[in-house]
Every structure is written in structure tokens, then in C-alpha cells.
């Protein structure tokens, strides 16, 4: 249900682009107004979201330690899994952000004839890595549309990405990687019962949206073969704030663009913000040197405690009777009263 609804929304967006630019003449809206709008929403939304997180303080230093602490000199300290210094934290974060370290740890619980195992399970990690890195490369490849002259590394990336030399224009590996990764993420969400159970509409929507972006892009490159020169005049115009609408751009390009705009505008309000959040997670980005370096809580406030004096007042007679040293001897009057 949730999967279907979000698919329909994405398809509706494609139809909308067709109506607007295939049949109608709304290229101005789809090609110029919406991109600017989406970008503005993205930038403002993203920044205010991150600032919103940053505004909340970190009262306690609570890293999750995944390796040996630094203690005695002769015990080997696990610098990356239990960082003690800022540099070690950076190392841990790099592993997390670049290689999805925690996801790589994934295991799968299984029961066989009353025996339980927790064997390694790398599929999710693989799917996520393939998707994210493909996405990154695809984004970098798109730089060709936004720069003149095109930076040297874009050519390198394209050469490497297309080294298989299949088809004209050449087929990029990451185009496939992007779609395959997304497809895997979608299928597991649909077919693993537990994952389906926890999934919300806002989990399916970005997947369909990205699949839509990926497949329209793929179609544009390999089948529709729309005129690159006019598209580049549009994108360069956008980026230099002197937008102009070229003639003869296929409506499918506008569908692609509309989906991208939707993604940008949707991004700050969605779970896709994990892109920013992963850097701010206090269980990962803090050093576990708590006992060596004091962490200060900015909103710390005094609390009511039970002082030793109050404690001794409560128990003084019993302490004296048991021969436990006290600060204040019992009052003779009180003692007399007792007798």
C-alpha cells in the first residue's frame, strides 16, 4: 500500500511534466522556476536543519565504544573503534562516512535446530555502498552540464566509469550501480517481512523518486538521446543566473528535472538528512576519553542531594553504637533522654 502510493506520486510527477512540457508550453516553469525554487528550499532547509541540530548542546559525552579502551600502556588500544583523541575521532568518522563501518558489522540471527548463530551479513552494506558511490559518481559526471570548461577530473571519471566500452553512447557502470543498488534497497524493503513492517510511506517515496530519476536519466542518455547542447545551455544559464529556455528539449528531460527538483525540495524534510546527521551523531563523533578530559554540560544545574551531614543525622546513634567513626558526637541530652 505505502509502496504503491509513493510510486503513484512519482508517476504522477512524470505525467505532470509530460502535460506541462510535452503537450503544454510550461517549459519556463519546469525548466527555470522550479529548479530555482527547489534549490532554494534545499539550501535553506538543509542549513537550518543542521543548525537546528547544532543548536542543541551535547550535555554528556556518550560514544559507543566498539574496541579496547586506552588504559594501561601495555594493553593495545583500538584507536579507530574507541578513539581517545580528536584525530582518532576523525579516523573513526572517516571509516563511518566513507566505508559505512557500522553497517559492515551487520550480522544475521538464525536458528537451526535450537542453535542460534549470528553470522556476518554484508548484503545491506554492499547495496548501500553500491548505491551511494554510484550516486556520487553520477553527480560528479553531471558537472559536465554545469561547467565550462569542464574540469579535467570529470573526463577521467567518465573514462573510468565507461571502461567497458559498451554501446554508443558508452554505458556507465555507475548508471547500472545506481539502479541496481536502489532496486536492492527497494526489494528488501518489500520482501523482508520485518523491514516491510517498519517501513513508512516516507521510506518508499525517496526510493521510487531516485529510481525515477535514475531511469529517466538512463533513458535520456541511451534511448531518447536528447540534444545535449541545448540542455547544457539551459543548465549553464541556470547556474550563471541568466536563465534561458532552449528549444527542442524532449519532455522526458523535464520529467527528469522535475523529479530532481522534488528530491531537492523534499530532502531537508526527510530521512535523507542522514547525510548531515551522520556527522553529528554523539555516539560516533566524540572521543571516549571521559575519565581523562572533563566534559562540561552547558545546562548543568544544582540538584538536591542527601549530604553526609544529613546522613549522619539519620544514623548517628546506630553508627556510634556500631563503633563507626562520626563527625559529630551524639548530643548528651539526646543520649540522656534515651536512657
Amino acid at each position: 500500500m505505502k509502496a504503491a502510493v509513493s510510486l503513484i506520486v512519482v508517476l504522477a510527477l512524470v505525467v505532470l511534466a509530460y502535460l506541462g512540457t510535452g503537450l503544454g508550453q510550461a517549459g519556463f516553469i519546469f525548466g527555470i522556476v522550479l529548479p530555482y525554487l527547489a534549490l532554494a528550499v534545499f539550501l535553506v532547509g538543509f542549513v537550518s536543519r543542521v543548525l537546528g541540530w547544532a543548536r542543541s548542546p551535547v550535555p554528556f559525552r556518550i560514544p559507543t565504544t566498539c574496541g579496547q579502551q586506552k588504559s594501561l600502556r601495555w594493553i593495545k588500544h583500538d584507536r579507530l573503534e574507541n578513539p581517545f583523541t580528536a584525530w582518532q575521532v576523525i579516523g573513526r568518522m572517516l571509516l563511518e562516512v566513507l566505508f559505512f563501518r557500522s553497517l559492515f558489522r551487520n550480522t544475521r540471527m538464525e536458528m537451526h535446530q535450537g542453535k542460534m548463530t549470528h553470522g556476518p551479513s554484508k548484503w545491506l552494506w554492499l547495496g548501500a555502498i553500491v548505491f551511494h558511490y554510484s550516486m556520487l559518481v553520477v553527480l560528479l559526471r553531471h558537472l559536465r552540464l554545469f561547467t565550462e570548461p569542464v574540469p579535467f577530473f570529470v573526463g577521467w571519471i567518465e573514462a573510468a566509469d565507461g571502461f567497458l566500452q559498451i554501446g554508443v553512447p558508452v554505458l556507465y557502470l555507475t548508471s547500472l550501480g545506481l539502479l541496481a543498488g536502489l532496486g536492492y534497497l527497494l526489494l528488501r524493503r518489500l520482501f523482508i517481512a520485518q523491514v516491510r513492517y517498519i517501513s513508512l510511506l516516507n521510506d518508499y517515496f525517496p526510493l521510487w523518486l531516485l529510481l525515477g530519476i535514475g531511469s529517466t536519466g538512463f533513458l535520456l542518455r541511451h534511448f531518447v538521446k536528447t540534444d545535449l547542447v541545448s540542455i547544457k545551455s539551459l543548465t549553464l544559464g541556470l547556474i550563471s543566473f541568466s536563465p534561458q529556455l532552449p528549444e527542442g528539449v524532449h519532455w522526458l528531460f523535464y520529467a527528469h528535472l522535475l523529479l530532481v527538483c522534488t528530491l531537492f525540495a523534499y530532502f531537508p524534510f526527510s530521512k535523507l538528512m542522514h547525510l548531515g546527521g551522520v556527522f553529528l551523531s554523539p555516539t560516533r563523533n566524540l572521543a571516549s576519553n571521559n575519565r581523562a578530559v572533563r566534559h562540561v554540560n552547558p545546562w548543568d544545574y544544582p540538584v538536591k542531594v542527601h549530604t553526609y551531614e544529613e546522613y549522619e543525622d539519620d544514623f548517628r546513634d546506630k553508627m556510634v553504637a556500631a563503633g563507626i567513626p562520626v563527625e559529630k558526637q551524639p548530643q548528651p541530652a539526646a543520649a540522656a533522654e534515651k536512657e
Binding site: 566498539c66 594493553i75 557500522s102 551487520n106 542460534m116 549470528h118 530521512k271 578530559v293 549522619e312 563507626i324
Partner: protein, 546 residues
């Protein structure tokens, strides 16, 4: 024998419990109300404890009551509480926003593994609160409501929170696997604080908190009682070893204040570990002291609220200052070390009146504790052994085939892995590890931490203890393991039941019980008895025959 009841282990059948299904039910989770089955929840906090502590809405009530007697403006209180915590904790705010529901954490939680209830998947446990957050605190949720994954806050939601946030032991295992480090324990802590604003506590937590506030320890042992207990231990020690230990209590001018969880004063097998400390310190001639006021290392405040952590923990530094010690040594405890390592300096520090800890025996300076000034006993003892300061005869433990259980908090909030293992290898000749993905940072909880280790919660404890129990059974079958060593007082209480249920025949022990049993003391007797006063010869024979 009378028929067992739901709060007894014998009531349950391991095969039946192990036949758990992990398939989620048909209906969506937002529409599945909580069902309070006996054996899976904990009695509410009694009014008198709340009153004593000055906590809101003290009253006597029952979980099965329709009406939980909440304040009229309960909803406003909770929403305001959420707002406040979003502004005070970046962790909470980020964790509410970034979960992608990948499900990597699902089969990492011992309660989901052993119970199969989908709301015990860490992700869904968090969603119970996150859905309300989305509904009332995000733009999308305010407009789209249910479509955006939002859910209205109702009394049923509160009841559900109570049920599931007291089915989380705050073990942080999920957080190890989450790609964003989302720590459901942190979310549980927030949720428990929110419930606390309405006066919803469990008695198994709040009674120890009240006790601890008044008497200095969770069990409510008064000063003379503690003295009696330690004297009683000294008698047993003398019988077992022939060594007469002294009992420094509230001693001014001691070098070291020793603090350990009070469970070890009262309940076997923790008591034997306590005797182990006394023997070790005696043999070293350590100038140390116990305190009747700071007579609790543990801190059930951690299971209550940040404020309560601070209220209970303050006495440690206060007492160290009053007695004029140089530094503090902490005993084997799990959640105590979460507090000491990650909270103590922040909430009660700076401890500038203490000295950087230095072992008076080896001269080692514990640089890693130079600010907080609290050293873990395993760090202390490992250093002693490394410097050859202990005379050890590990063959005295030869009848023991031991495995080591990493307690959640020292593992995932500290990273204390090698120190206890180093000690264990020097005091036992037969040490076997449980399977790789069940130890160290991936260790499985005992199922009874964070205030869940009470008998009325027996079914959940056994279910939650299942992954740990199965791993123990694995080494029992493979290596004839007959003891499980744990450096945590809650473990020493709850794992006894878990082992009896899942791996009968495996006994639970503390590390320093094993240390003391292997130590050669000056002026010792024949050492025919161990600290449990069991004849060692017979144990050897039994083990040999096995």
C-alpha cells in the same frame, strides 16, 4: 511442590520459549495496542518512594488499571517534556530525525531475538516515540499526520511506552550496528524521563533509588548493617583461607576509597567477589577504606533521569573529600561504569581535590583516569599482575572451565575488554571465549539490566537472556564450560537464572572471586575450601569425572 507461578523460572519451558517466531503480525504497528501479559512487565513505583524523592504525582496504582491516575494536563506535560529534551540533547534531536529504517538493528536486540515482538526491534521501539515527535514537532507531520508517519499522543501510547521502554535494558547493542550510531538506549532514557514527569516509574528502580538517597545504597543497608555484613564476610574468609582481614570503614586518611555495587554485600555469588576484594586489599596492605555513606557504586538514577544520576552519584566525591582520600577505586559493576566513565565528571566534577590515581603498589599512574580520578578494579589488578605483585596459583581454579561475559556498559560505554581477560588468563588455566559475535562490543545483555531484573518480569528476562544463554550453552557443550565470569553485580544476580534456564549446570562467578581463590596469601591455611566454603578436592573430582 507447589505449581510454579509466572514469576518463577520453573513456570517456563526453554523449548517453548526458543520456538519464538519473528514474523510480524498482519496489522500495522500503530494500530496494535499493548497487551499486558503477566511476566512481561514490572510493578509501578510506590507512592512513598516518589514522595520521599520529591517526584511528581505520587500515588498507588496498578498497571492493569484502566485509569493510571495521570495529571489532567498529562499531554501538555509530555509534549513540553519532549520540546525541552530536544533543546537540551543533540543526541535526542538527531536520533529522532535521521533513522532510515534500514532494519540493521532489528535482530541485534536480545528482546526481539528472544521475544519476537516487533516493537522490541530497536528501530520500532524508537518509532513509538518518534511517531509522536513527527506528529507534533515536524512540519511534514503537522500537515500530513499519519501519511508522514505521525501518530497522535494518547493514553494508549503512554501505556505502550511504559511497556516497551521498560523492555529495553539500555544495553546499546543496537547502537553498535546502526550506521548513524542511533542509540536506542538514549531514546529509552528520554522516554523514561517523560514517563517520570507523569509519575510513572517502576518500583524495581525507584525503591532502590529512594533507598540509595537515604542510606547510601540501593538495598537500604544501614551503616551498622554494612559493618555486620563485612565482618561476616571476614569470618568466612578466615575459615576459607586462614587469613584475618581487617575492615577499614569510613576511615579518614586512607589513600583510596573503595566503592562497589551493594548487590555484592547481599546476594550470592556477588558476596564472594566482595570477599575477593577484601582479601586482595589485605594482602597488598592497601591503605583503603569502605564507606557506609558512599556504599553504592551502582546508580539506578541512570534508569530514571539525568537529574537522578547526579543526585545519587554526588556522594562519591563528597565522601572522598570528607575522608581526604587521594583517589577512588571502583569495583566490578556494569551500569556503575557507564555512570563513572561517561557521566560522573560532568555531573559531579571537577574532582580537583583528588590526586591523579597512582597505584601505591606498582607506581603506575592511571593517566586514563586523570580527571575523574576513578580507576576500575580490573585496571588496577591487571596492572598488579603485570608487575608480578600477586602470587598466583591458577591451578587452584583448575576445576573451573570458565567463559567471560562482557557486561554491556563496560563493553559499549568504556571498552574494557582486555583487562579482565588478562586477569582471567592469569588466575584460570581453562578459559574459553563464547562465539565471536556474542562477546566484546557485540556482547549480549543478561536480559535484566536497567531495572528489569525483577521476578514479576520473569518471562521477559528469560526471553531477553536467550541469546546470551544460547551462547553459554554453546561453550558448555563444546568445551565443558562450567562457570561464567561476569564483572557486573546485576549480571551476577540475573545471569544465575539465565544460566539455570538456558545452560543448566553453568554457575556464575565474579572476577575477583577467581582472583582470590587463585591467590597465595601470606600465612594462609591449606586452602581446602574456596570462598564459597566448598571443599575444593570434591569439586576437582567432580570436574575430573565430568
Amino acid at each position: 511442590m507447589a505449581k510454579a507461578t509466572f514469576d518463577q523460572m520453573e513456570y517456563y519451558d526453554p523449548q517453548q520459549i526458543a520456538a519464538v517466531s519473528h514474523r510480524p503480525p498482519a496489522g500495522g504497528w500503530m494500530d496494535t495496542p499493548v497487551e499486558f501479559r503477566p511476566g512481561t512487565w514490572i510493578y509501578p513505583g510506590k507512592a512513598k518512594h516518589l514522595e520521599y524523592l520529591g517526584l511528581p504525582n505520587p500515588r498507588d496504582w496498578a498497571v492493569t488499571d484502566e485509569d493510571w491516575k495521570l495529571p489532567d494536563n498529562w499531554k501538555e506535560i509530555v509534549l513540553k517534556g519532549i520540546r525541552e529534551r530536544l533543546d537540551k540533547y543533540r543526541s535526542f534531536k538527531v536520533f529522532m530525525d535521521v533513522c532510515v529504517r534500514c532494519g540493521a538493528c532489528a535482530d541485534k536486540c536480545h528482546f526481539f531475538i528472544g521475544g519476537g515482538d516487533p516493537k522490541n526491534m530497536p528501530v520500532l521501539r524508537a518509532e513509538l516515540l518518534r511517531s509522536v515527535y513527527r506528529n507534533d514537532f515536524t512540519t511534514a507531520g503537522k500537515i500530513l499526520g499519519r501519511l508522514a508517519g505521525g501518530r497522535k499522543l494518547t493514553i494508549d501510547v503512554i501505556k505502550e511506552w511504559f511497556y516497551y521502554f521498560f523492555q529495553c535494558t539500555e544495553c546499546r547493542r543496537c547502537s553498535v550496528f546502526c550506521p548513524y550510531g542511533i542509540d536506542t538506549a538514549e531514546i529509552t532514557m528520554m522516554a523514561r524521563e517523560l514517563l517520570g514527569l507523569l509519575g510513572i516509574y517502576v518500583n524495581w528502580v525507584i525503591e532502590p533509588v529512594a533507598n540509595c538517597f537515604r542510606t547510601g545504597n540501593h538495598l537500604g543497608i544501614q551503616p551498622h548493617g554494612l559493618k555486620d555484613t563485612l565482618e561476616f564476610f571476614a569470618e568466612d574468609i578466615e575459615e576459607a583461607t586462614g587469613v584475618k582481614v581487617d575492615i577499614p570503614l569510613n576511615k579518614k586518611g586512607a589513600d583510596i576509597l573503595f566503592v562497589t555495587p551493594s548487590g555484592d554485600f547481599l546476594a550470592d555469588p556477588g558476596t564472594f567477589t566482595c570477599m575477593g576484594y577484601m582479601l586482595l586489599f589485605h594482602e597488598l596492605g592497601l591503605n583503603y577504606t569502605w564507606s557506609t555513606y558512599a556504599s553504592e557504586g551502582g546508580n539506578f538514577g541512570l534508569f530514571t533521569s539525568a537529574e537522578t544520576i547526579k543526585r545519587l552519584n554526588a556522594k562519591l566525591y563528597a565522601e572522598a573529600k570528607r575522608l581526604g582520600v587521594k583517589w577512588i577505586l571502583g569495583g566490578e559493576c556494569g551500569h556503575m561504569w557507564r555512570v563513572v566513565h561517561q557521566y560522573m565528571d560532568t555531573v559531579n566534577g571537577p574532582a580537583d581535590f583528588l590526586e591523579v590515581p597512582r597505584s601505591p603498589i606498582t607506581g603506575t599512574v592511571f593517566e586514563n583516569a586523570r580527571s575523574t580520578k576513578v580507576v576500575h578494579i580490573a585496571e588496577f589488578t591487571a596492572d598488579l599482575i603485570k608487575h608480578g605483585k600477586l602470587k598466583l596459583d591458577p591451578s587452584r581454579n583448575d576445576h573451573i572451565r570458565v567463559t567471560f561475559h562482557d557486561s554491556c556498559n563496560p563493553a559499549r560505554a568504556m571498552g574494557l575488554f582486555e583487562e579482565p581477560r588478562y586477569i582471567l588468563r592469569h588466575v584460570c588455566n581453562n578459559f574459553y571465549e563464547m562465539p565471536e559475535n556474542t562477546i566484546r562490543e557485540q556482547t549480549f545483555c543478561c536480559g535484566g539490566g536497567a531495572g528489569l531484573g525483577t521476578d514479576e518480569n520473569m518471562e521477559m528476562r528469560l526471553r531477553g537472556g536467550m541469546p546470551r544463554g544460547m551462547a553459554v550453552r554453546h561453550v558448555q557443550e563444546k568445551y565443558d564450560v562450567n562457570q561464567l565470569c561476569a564483572i557486573c553485580a546485576i549480571d551476577r544476580a540475573t545471569l544465575v537464572t539465565v544460566c539455570d534456564f538456558w545452560a543448566p549446570g553453568v554457575k556464575v562467578t565474579g572476577l575477583h572471586e577467581l582472583v582470590a581463590n587463585a591467590m597465595v596469601f601470606e600465612g594462609e591455611n591449606e586452602r581446602k575450601l574456596n570462598l564459597r566454603l566448598e571443599p575444593v578436592d570434591e569439586l576437582r573430582e567432580e570436574a575430573g569425572n565430568a
